[in-house]
């Protein structure tokens, strides 16, 4: 069974630029999550989708972050404009019965 796919693996941008991350969850998983993991901290939930609807986006900085999950499968997370403090690993996860399966993440460096 294929795991959660994420791209790109690494991204380096300058502050105020925009960036987008892509996630393809495990086939059949209705729930998709985006987490932000800053160095030295645990993953923090940014947004949770159930199919193509948003379940929880209370911790998403909506002035600069946006996410969508059109057709209830793939998802993209965008940051516009990026700030230095956005440097982190962005993890996508999907679940079917409550157990989360994570992708390898996208490591973002904002210079």
């Amino acid at each position: 069974e294929a795991g959660v796919a994420q791209s790109p693996r690494y991204k380096i941008i300058e502050k105020r630029q925009s960036v987008a991350f892509w996630c393809n969850p495990i086939s059949g998983h209705a729930t998709l999550y985006w987490y932000q993991q800053i160095l030295g901290q645990g993953p923090k939930l940014l947004i949770q989708f159930q199919n193509n609807g948003v379940v929880d986006d209370s911790q998403l900085p909506k002035d600069r972050f946006s996410a969508e999950r059109l057709k209830g499968v793939d998802s993209t997370l965008k940051i516009q404009p990026a700030k230095l403090e956005d440097s982190a690993v962005y993890l996508c996860a999907s679940s079917f019965t409550g157990k989360l399966f994570f992708g390898s993440g996208t490591q973002l460096s904002v210079l």
Binding site: Y33, G40, G42, P43, L91, F101
Partner: protein, 111 residues
């Protein structure tokens, strides 16, 4: 305000000995507890879990203990192997609330 605390950022253990990783939580409403393991450049992977109705769950070399009165859980790995060297995250769940992670403990198993 941290809801999940892993107070030891790192731990070194000799191969073959027991590794004990600790986690404290603040909210007595949490009812499901999980441990995730993370290797560098990979996403976290589920390791073992326990529900609040139990005080112990064992899976091979891994055992999780839950002390509800102390709001404390621990992960025991015995015997420890070099391949166990990773960052271990404690995570907690309550009803429909999203998974909340601790900051992680980096375990190094020395051969």
């Amino acid at each position: 305000d941290q809801q999940v605390k892993q107070n030891s950022p790192s731990l070194s253990v000799q191969e073959g000995r027991i590794s004990i990783l600790n986690c404290d939580y603040t909210n007595s409403m949490f009812d499901y507890f999980l441990w995730y393991k993370k290797y560098p450049a990979e996403g976290p992977t589920f390791l073992i879990s326990i529900s609040s109705i139990k005080d112990k769950n064992e899976d091979g070399r891994f055992t999780v203990f839950l002390n509800k009165s102390a709001k404390h859980l621990s992960l025991h790995i015995v015997p420890s192997q070099p391949g166990d060297s990773a960052v271990y995250f404690c995570a907690v769940l309550s009803g429909n609330t999203p998974l909340v992670f601790g900051k992680g403990t980096r375990l190094s198993v020395i051969a």
